[in-house]
């Protein structure tokens, strides 16, 4: 039997200018899922439903075997959540926050927290109001990671960070992900971070799940071809996500890339000049354009 870190079944929520219908999303234990989408795609809403912060109109949500939101208290002892809009108390020090969190979580790892203080270059006795945005994000992550959660849920954890701080956060997350028991869901519109860390990729746009697949096979299934178009070329090709023509030259993007796809294009009247694999960012843009 497969153990899921979380499962969302037929989840729907409706707001005046946004709706999400029948979202199905699940993550196996020990896996890392990157949730990708433009601003307003529904990433934060999905995460807030998962954390019991927003009640869905319909559907079923489970995390670590607990029904949500009804059993969120038990679930949250093993879920670590941090978001880019999370702030700490300005008038208090990081040490005060660490003591507060430690008083709640029996599994709080003080030694690990001290280690993270060094790695993140944070000062425990510094008041939060005196620290930078990057330090604040790292402070939030420290408070979450030191709880040793089984499921880590991060909503845009690297947004607004400078390249150095982002690299520190990403490498720390990569370190954590070596723990096979820990599952991670993290959302971002930064596809580079997602590409670095994820096992699975979920694309959201306008409240719809466009794709949910493991990263390797997903990246392998997309490709771009630069072709010379023959006069006899057909208007469409099976498996083409988009065909953009500039006179006799066309750029064909496919999500069904294989060794034989170039031959398939040839038969359709497209002589392949070049073929390229696509980055996650390029796939993301192509996917969103296709869905609109």
């Amino acid at each position: 039997m497969q153990n899921y870190a979380f499962e969302m079944r037929d989840v729907s929520i409706r707001y005046p200018h946004f709706s999400m219908e029948n979202l199905n999303l699940s993550l196996l234990q020990g896996q890392v899922m990157g949730l990708v989408g433009v601003n307003g795609a529904g990433k934060s809403t999905t995460i807030r439903i998962l954390m019991g912060l927003v009640k869905a109109n319909a559907g079923e949500v489970k995390a670590l075997g607990y029904d949500l939101p009804s059993q969120q208290v038990q679930a949250k002892y093993d879920i670590g959540f941090a978001s880019d809009d999370m702030r700490l108390y300005k008038s208090q020090t990081l040490q005060w926050h660490m003591d507060f969190v430690q008083s709640i979580y029996p599994k709080f790892d003080s030694a690990y927290a001290k280690d993270l203080l060094k790695r993140f270059d944070l000062i425990a006795d510094q008041k939060i109001k005196g620290i930078s945005h990057g330090q604040r994000v790292k402070a939030c992550l420290l408070l979450v990671l030191a709880r040793r959660p089984k499921l880590l849920v991060l909503d845009e954890p690297t947004t607004g960070l400078d390249p150095v701080a982002r690299e520190e956060v990403i490498s720390e997350l990569a370190d954590i992900l070596r723990d096979d028991e820990r599952s991670v869901l993290f959302s971002s519109h930064n596809t580079h971070d997602i590409e670095k860390l994820s096992d699975q990729i979920a694309f959201l746009d306008k409240g719809k799940l466009l794709a949910l697949q493991d990263k390797e096979s997903y990246l392998e299934s997309w490709g771009r071809f630069r072709c010379q178009v023959k006069d006899t070329a057909s208007q469409s090709v099976v498996g083409a996500v988009s065909i953009i023509r500039h006179g006799q030259i066309a750029e064909v993007v496919t999500d069904q890339w294989s060794e034989g796809y170039a031959k398939q294009l040839q038969e359709a009247g497209f002589s392949v000049l070049e073929q390229h694999r696509m980055s996650l960012e390029e796939i993301f843009v192509a996917n969103v354009k296709r869905s609109r």
């Binding site: 019991g52 208290v73 702030r87 300005k90």
Partner: protein, 228 residues
């Protein structure tokens, strides 16, 4: 409510957290309250009136700061996601806020009101003003319950401040009303406090209103579906 009772440990953590965050300002207010009681204790008509105005202001400011700082600012300054990431339901959080605010406001309110009564009884100030002092204090408590409820249900600075403005404007009307009631104003200069049916009815109405507002807040909080 069942989960709330089961999660009493977390509610205690949240109440203690609010206490830790607000204890310095409450201590400062209590110090100002002691100074005000000292002025009242001088027992002249002028000092009594000055101290009464200062005390009314102080009671309003403590309540306003408590509701704004611990509830509205928690959303405005985005510390709410941090707290809601802890093992609490939004209802636990609201219950903890209700509890901590009541304690953080009601205890100073009670100390200051009792302080005023002690000063009145132990100095030559007419004891006949006691019903007036208690009724005005009870009104301020009821007004506090109104904006506490607004803060807890909307987390909106605008709505909460609007309710504060309205209730504070109505305070002037309330004071004028009870000062003009013959059943009350005829006894202000009496040597002993004199409670009658009218003053007791107003007091009962204010207490019932405060309790009803808090109960309604608890019921409406359970119906909220989004907490961030």
């Amino acid at each position: 409510m069942t989960t709330t009772i089961h999660n009493s440990q977390m509610i205690k953590h949240l109440v203690m957290k609010d206490w830790a965050l607000m204890k310095k300002s409450i201590a400062a207010y209590m110090l100002a309250g002691i100074v005000t009681l000292g002025i009242m204790g001088m027992a002249t008509a002028i000092t009594f009136n000055i101290a009464a105005i200062l005390m009314i202001t102080l009671l309003i400011v403590i309540g306003a700061r408590s509701a704004i700082e611990s509830i509205v600012n928690e959303k405005k300054e985005q510390t709410l996601p941090f707290i809601l990431s802890l093992p609490v339901t939004p209802q636990d959080y609201a219950f903890a806020k209700l509890l901590s605010n009541l304690v953080l406001y009601f205890v100073p309110w009670l100390i200051l009101v009792l302080g005023m009564l002690v000063i009145i009884v132990s100095t030559p100030i007419y004891n006949g003003v006691i019903p007036l002092v208690i009724l005005v204090s009870a009104y301020i408590l009821a007004a506090y319950c109104c904006y506490l409820a607004t803060a807890l249900l909307t987390y909106s600075e605008g709505f909460t401040i609007s309710v504060m403005i309205v209730t504070n404007l109505l305070l002037n009307g309330f004071i004028i009303l009870i000062m003009r009631l013959p059943e009350l104003n005829q006894t202000f200069e009496a040597a002993t406090a004199s409670w009658n049916a009218t003053s007791l009815l107003i007091l009962a109405a204010l207490i019932t209103f405060s309790a009803a507002i808090l109960l309604l807040t608890g019921i409406l909080q359970k119906r909220l579906t989004s907490f961030l």
